[in-house]
Subunit: 347 residues, 2 copies
């Protein structure tokens, strides 16, 4: 059998900017009644009856992702997820996104299609409409800039600033896995570079890698909390690591916090891979980031409503600001928490 | 007197991502009642009573701008303008923007400040609130991604699709100047490269250069049309050149159009610089782009309301689709108009 060594590579110039936009957006149908007009005019038109939340994030090649191991479809999916995660962190319903990309003209149309396949899948899975964007050339790497919109009743929007002394600190799902997934991918890349014939064995790490490459925003959590009749007092999504997010909540709510090491939810594969990499799993959970879980505070009286829920872990509580922010270790020691989150400007 | 050869250059790492955001956004006050919460949470919160329009544009170094002659403050201003222009092209009022930037960490904080000075000035001049954004590192050039929001009553939003046979084609201001400004700047750059001691003499071209470096979106036009009691049947902003915009209107309205060469509004300096550069001024007007004027159609019965207005030029009219899109030259010849707008993917 003759192998096709030249997969389809249609140059973007062949379609031009408008042709490319037509081509990649023709399969995007809208699903929200609030989307009055999507792609195709100077601006999209939407109608929100409640308050509108707006958030934006930019992903830059070489800073946020490495195309040597990130499939473009996953990248498109993740670019939407990181934005939806911010919408859910406001306790809002995500409704629309715009997606702008800057791409090298060495990218074939098929690569752009893969990227948009991921974007389309994310929109479909999360009930969100793609309503606009911009497609431009780049002299260097790939850039994806997404803006997400959502809506919610004014009195149900949850800010970072509402945590009160005595509230419980809760996190959804588990943390640290996305960071360990990145470690695995970086190791396999190094192994591959040293010996391209070496087939990576990543089966055992599939959960970690999936958390890194294809995170899911917690659309279910605002819904679950509504069903449980719990309105968080403050909320943030875990993009930079638990410690960084706790500091944000504390700073904006003018409170202190205590988090208990033994309460932090870790997947067993995070623990085993941390041992393998000789990393401390608590440090990974606190500083790893990219988990896209929700970290929030609830009133103590809501404890019975959430205590048995398998999606939620109570990991600490809120204190007066003067008490500071501490981790209580398994040994009972108190360690001050400082920002250790991810900083793209560190050299 | 000792000259300071080392202007302030504070490394961004010194502030970190959050420090940088705090630093550059601390002077941004909000002015719209609809802005419930601006920067500082997972998402901004806004309240629009009418329909919301949303548009986004990305500017990429080396593709859309050349930092060797574009001052950062102007660039920040222009990045907001190109987006507001799209809002006005929907006949809406611009209310909020988000601004995301990717910058090399070799950029000092002072450079980011300059960029944001321009963004702040644009927001102030146009009554728009900066409500969010993202600030990240870039391995290569500077990228600016802006999303603009605006609002308007549903029945006053003007789409590209409403032009009807018999309507008049109108453009605001004059066209072609931004493109000629770019030619001047490129020429001066080449002259400077050849002889760095050569002081450029650009006084005579100040209008052209200003149109290129510091365009103003036509916030005044929707307001003027409202005062004149004229609701355009279709509208688009002139970012890629008149011919490209006419094609968009025709395609989306399923109509044809005729534009008259002798009616196209040109500033005298466009005509004189075209002679100097041996360029045809009509071609420049049709294909130059970046004018950020508004091109729209109105019903014939509105003719008396707009005919004497110095801000508006009637340059043609709408025909049935089967008549195609033509330029009527000064000599009375009809030339078919094809897309000649700017395409960032052309190599």
């Amino acid at each position: 059998m003759i192998e096709d060594k030249n997969p389809l590579r249609t140059p973007i110039e062949q379609l031009g900017e408008f042709g490319l936009i037509d081509h990649i957006t023709k399969n995007f149908a809208t699903q929200n009644a609030g989307t009055v007009r999507a792609i195709g005019d100077d601006a999209a038109v939407i109608k929100h009856d409640k308050h509108t939340v707006v958030t934006t994030d930019m992903l830059v090649e070489g800073i946020h992702f490495d195309l040597s191991y990130v499939p473009l479809k996953h990248l498109g999916y993740k670019a939407v997820m990181v934005n939806l995660s911010d919408v859910y962190a406001m306790n809002a319903i995500a409704t629309q996104v715009t997606v702008s990309i800057a791409i090298s003209n060495r990218f074939p149309v098929e690569a752009v299609e893969e990227l948009y396949d991921g974007i389309a899948l994310a929109c479909q899975n999360y009930g969100v409409d793609l309503i606009g964007g911009d497609t431009t050339a780049s002299n260097s790497g790939l850039i994806i800039s997404v803006t997400a919109l959502g809506e919610q009743e004014p009195d149900k929007i949850v800010y970072r600033s509402g945590a009160k002394d005595g509230d419980l600190l809760v996190v959804s799902g588990d943390v640290g896995a996305a960071y360990m997934g990145l470690q695995i991918l970086e190791r396999e890349k190094a192994v591959f570079k040293a010996n391209p014939n070496n087939q990576p064995d990543i089966e055992a790490y599939s959960y970690l890698i999936e958390r890194q490459l294809k995170p899911e925003a917690r659309k279910d959590i605002p819904k679950l909390l509504e069903e449980l009749d719990v309105l968080p007092t403050s909320m943030i999504d875990v993009s930079d690591g638990l410690s960084s997010e706790m500091i944000h909540l504390c700073k904006q709510s003018s409170v202190g916090m205590k988090i208990y090491e033994d309460k932090i939810p870790l997947d067993p594969t995070v623990i085993s891979s941390c041992e393998e990499f000789n990393l401390d799993s608590t440090t990974v959970a606190l500083s790893g980031g990219e988990d896209y879980e929700l970290l929030f505070t609830v009133k103590q009286e809501d404890f019975p409503k959430i205590k048995a829920n398998p999606n939620l872990s109570i990991i600490g509580h809120v204190l007066p600001q003067s008490d500071g922010i501490h981790l209580v270790t398994r040994g009972g020691e108190q360690v001050a928490i400082k920002a250790m989150g991810w900083n793209s400007f560190e050299s």
